[in-house]
């Protein structure tokens, strides 16, 4: 039984590093996303992850679902720092801080993206082994609009837009389970973004976003100190309306992201994950830009 518990712990460590990779991605133009929260899915006290992501905008999707390939290259490089810490046994808090560089046609712009802070509670602990009961964490997440929104952009190609520009609050739950060498997780969240006033030289009025949601599932297989995994995420945002000199009613956005990852547990404290995500393969995206992303994440953990 002790060996089984240790094996499960090892597999959870590998699973944790891969869950971090399953970010739901937002529209490339407008920066920001309501990414998966920075949570500790295993039994550790704390974890810190440093990630480097490189994305390319592969295509844009019109409101009627037609795709248009980009004729000029637009790339994003993101350095993201994520951390989480357990307190009061089953409670944990975390944050995610991205620095984003956008480049297009020899122009670049670098700066902070939207910051996320989260509060989680392990409502389904795995204190005793159960074949069917998953481990469950519920969480609240707050998005701070620290990245400039596209409405406030001053740069060519709006490259200085690195955030959605709205305060948002959300709630969700992460379920994870290990069975033998296989593991799986699912994450579902709903969030609401808050209106804001806009006043620029050309624009005076109120931007009115609404609700959004994302869901993701993942499956993995572990062998020795490694894990290969796949994730499938769906992201949806309600239309953004503008009320001002001229009212304008937006269109909802939707995209599907599929990802594959390889994780290696260097020690019980260190893990590295390579992953690739692609928004052009599955689903019927609408009113969004589609990204293809490579990422490398290094995670450090502290046991309880």
């Amino acid at each position: 039984m002790k060996m089984v518990r240790q094996l499960i712990k090892l597999l959870f460590l590998l699973l944790s590093s891969s869950i971090v990779s399953s970010h739901a991605l937002g529209a490339a133009c407008c920066g920001g996303s309501f990414a998966s929260p920075s949570l500790i899915a295993g039994d550790d006290l704390a974890q810190t992850t440093l990630g480097l992501l490189t994305s390319e905008v592969a295509a844009d999707v019109y409101t009627d679902g037609r795709w248009r390939k980009r004729s000029d290259l637009e790339t994003h490089k993101t350095l993201v720092l994520e951390a989480a810490h357990v307190f009061w046994d089953r409670w944990q808090a975390g944050f995610s801080l991205p620095i984003i560089e956008r480049a297009r046609a020899k122009e670049t712009s670098t700066g902070l993206g939207d910051t996320n802070v989260s509060l989680g509670y392990e409502y389904l602990p795995d204190w005793t082994y159960s074949y069917w009961r998953p481990k469950g964490i519920g969480y609240l997440k707050l998005t701070l609009p620290t990245g400039r929104s596209i409405q406030e952009s001053e740069a060519t190609y709006a490259l200085d837009s690195r955030g959605r520009g709205f305060w948002a609050i959300g709630a969700g739950t992460l379920l994870s389970k290990v069975l033998g060498a296989w593991d799986g997780f699912s994450n579902i969240e709903v969030h609401h973004s808050f209106s804001k006033s806009v006043e620029t030289e050309d624009l005076r009025g109120q931007l009115d976003p609404s609700w959004g949601a994302s869901s993701s599932v993942g499956l993995g297989y572990s062998f020795k100190s490694s894990r290969i995994g796949a994730t499938f995420s769906y992201n949806y945002e309600d239309p953004i309306n503008f009320l001002g000199d001229t009212d304008s009613f937006g269109t909802e956005q939707a995209s599907t992201t599929v990802g594959v990852s390889f994780s290696y547990l260097y020690s019980s404290s260190w893990a590295v994950t390579l992953s690739y995500t692609d928004q052009t393969i599955f689903g019927e995206p609408v009113n969004t830009s589609l990204l293809q992303t490579f990422s490398l994440r290094v995670q450090r953990r502290w046991p309880r």
Partner: protein, 154 residues
């Protein structure tokens, strides 16, 4: 364990089969048709109701993903003989590019009066492909009091 492996494999194959994207791409001929339609439309179909003015416009240079374009618009009024004559609006004409589906605009457009009733809108640049509105406004004291909207797809 063997059954679990088989079940996972079957589920994965099923998901792959039913969920693959099948996109319809915008073709180059779509863009060519739009250009032809805009350049041959000589009828005055846009009206500023607040000043009883009519507007006609055409591209001087079509914008692309990487280059700004420009267009000329002419403002007319009916004279006493019932003829359309070029006239300057009382209020200041401005141009704004707006992407209604995503709720944002683009870089500022420069409007220059070249002669009576004739204006050049330059630096017409769309920050991303998609469906846009070109809004030709009449502004008074910094507020838009009349507007003509022309849809444009990049």
């Amino acid at each position: 364990m063997k059954n679990l492996n088989l079940l996972v494999l079957l589920l994965t194959c099923f998901t792959l089969l039913i969920a693959c994207a099948d996109p319809e791409y915008v073709s180059a001929s779509d863009a060519a048709d739009l250009e032809e339609e805009v350049l041959t439309d000589a009828r005055c179909t846009f009206k500023f109701s607040s000043e009883n003015l009519c507007l006609r416009w055409q591209w001087e240079r079509l914008p692309t993903e990487t280059e700004a374009g420009s267009f000329i618009f002419q403002v007319f009024k009916l004279d006493q003989q019932g003829k359309m004559v070029l006239a300057d609006p009382v209020k200041q004409p401005t141009v704004i590019l707006w992407m209604p589906s995503m709720g944002h605009g683009s870089s500022p457009v420069t409007v220059t009066r070249t002669s009576i009733g004739v204006y050049l809108a330059s630096a017409v640049f769309f920050v991303m492909p998609g469906e846009w509105d070109i809004r030709i406004n009449l502004d008074e004291n910094g507020k838009t009091v009349d507007q003509i909207t022309v849809p444009f797809t990049l």
